[in-house]
């Protein structure tokens, strides 16, 4: 039987994979995907709480819809910026973004 715990572990794993991806990947698109993965892990969490939780009002699901919408907006801006960068130097490697040092 798959229960809440399974979803939580899956969400936590996805979150970590996304984070690691965002940190270690060298390609801008892949970094972006990592961030999106993190956001989706949160969505999974929220939806799972609604499915298994004792809460009556499905707040989690509606919140998840908000997050999906906002994430879409974020991706749109991100792709626009990546496109601008690509036009200037025809690659999407983060290494060349010498600013990205942290």
């Amino acid at each position: 039987m798959i229960g809440l715990d399974h979803y939580l572990v899956l969400a936590a794993a996805l979150f970590c994979i996304g984070f690691v991806g965002a940190v270690v990947k060298r390609n801008a698109i892949a970094v972006l995907m990592g961030v999106e993965l993190m956001l989706n892990a949160v969505n999974l969490n929220l939806v799972a709480f609604d499915r298994f939780g004792v809460h009556v009002v499905p707040l989690g699901q509606s919140f998840a819809v908000f997050i999906i919408a906002v994430a879409a907006a974020e991706v749109a801006v991100a792709l626009a910026i990546i496109l601008t960068l690509y036009r200037r130097r025809s690659n999407t490697r983060v290494d060349d973004l010498d600013m990205l040092k942290w």
Binding site: F15, G18, F19, A22, A28, V31, L32, G34, V35, E36, M38, L39, A41, V42, N45, L46, F49, G53, V54, H55, L59, G60, F63, F66, I67, V70, A73, E74, V77, A78, A80, I81, I82, T84, L85, R88, R89, L97, D98, M99, L100, K101, W102
Partner: protein, 501 residues
Amino acid sequence: MSSADFLALSPLVLAAGGSIIVLLVSAFAGKRPAPSFAAALVVLALALAAIGLAWSEAPRAVGSLVKIDGFTLFAQALIFATAFLVALASYRYMAPRSGEESGGDSGGEYYFLLLLASLGASILAAATSFVTLFLGLELLSVSLFSLIAFRREKTIGAQAGFMYLILAGASSAFLLFGMALAFMATGSLKTADLAAALVSGTPDILVLASLGLMTVGIGFKLAAVPFHLWTPEVYDAAPTPVTAFIATVSKGAMAVFLVRFFAPSGLASAGAYPWIFAAVAALSMFAGNLLALRERRIKRILAYSSIAHIGYILIAIIAGPGRAAPTVAFYLVAYFAASLGAFAAISALSQGDAEHDGLDSYRGLASRRPGLAAGLALAMLSLAGLPLTAGFMGKFLIFAAGEGAFLWVLAVLLAVNSTISIYYYLRVVSIMYSPAPEAETAAGEAFGEAAGATSGTPRPRSARAFGPAAAVVIVAAVVVIALGIFPGPLIDLIRSLTSGY
């Protein structure tokens, strides 16, 4: 939704509707940015006026999502007024660039994005629910990504925009994960419920984890140490007025949210939480001030200085019920005014092609542009917290908010830090008031100003004329001095507005 709700939300509604209008104006205005600029100013002025309308309904909670009270309205007024001034400072700065390489659009979207970002910040300042917190935050962030990368002819801006986007996205994810855990533990999306769960006895592990994760997200937005690493790069690469906006509105809105979250519940002074705040505050102060010592570029200096100021504000937040809100509110006004003055002066100097950023290009500024130099110097002195400026009164209030040995230690640390900080603020001032190097050659040519001044050829008229950015410098200077000499009325106003905290 009743008409009273509508009145309470009228500033937000006006800003949201107005931003659409500004977008339409910019679409139909052809290549000229002026119509969108004017429209944005009108919308911001209207939103500011609507604060008065909303005040008649305050305090009022609209659903469980937002609560409009005195403190929120104060913060919103501050945000809209700041956005107004930032828009003014942007006009000349953005104008000559928007035509080039951008396929002939007017650059009017800039003002649309600015409005949207202020709207996000205003929502953030009113949020009482995770949903509005997230929405406000993202509205602010997504607009900022585009604003930072706005000058498409500059690669560095796009790089910084992307970097900020990734970091902001990741930190939002942390924040959201924390919210999800809090939702699981408390079954509610209201921030007050999380605070209540934290205060009551021994909070369970989920609640603590949620707080930890949310700290990452909030710390990033505030640029508190250890989440500050993006600050200098982004400040440096973003268009200067946008940097001003990030330094003031974006951080200020988050600080207001923190006060509203922590102060009423007494959470900031309960258990181990003050220690977390104190550690972050102390680290931010020291890291910001020490790193600023090594910088030679003024925007990076201001970036580090902003990190330090967030440290100071965090001290005020721990001060607890009754004192945190007024202190933070006053400090924000003082800090906003000084930062705006500094960045507006930099914008005014950077019109044309060259960015006026390296400290060396400021040498002898006092003889070339005495007014701007005086304004910038005043802003620096206020950030340093010297008397006759608003910064002094702000620091005084933070000291006075302290109670108990714990806060006195922080107050002494603040004293030490403010001494360190004076060194780099004064260096900027000192460079401006020292004579320009006699033989201005290659280095001088890079900066149209310096070359014009030393070779005796008249500088381009546009670079010299009194522009809107200079007006912002004057406004900021007046505010800084007025608050430095007569802070009483504002303090009383803030106290009456924040009486609920």
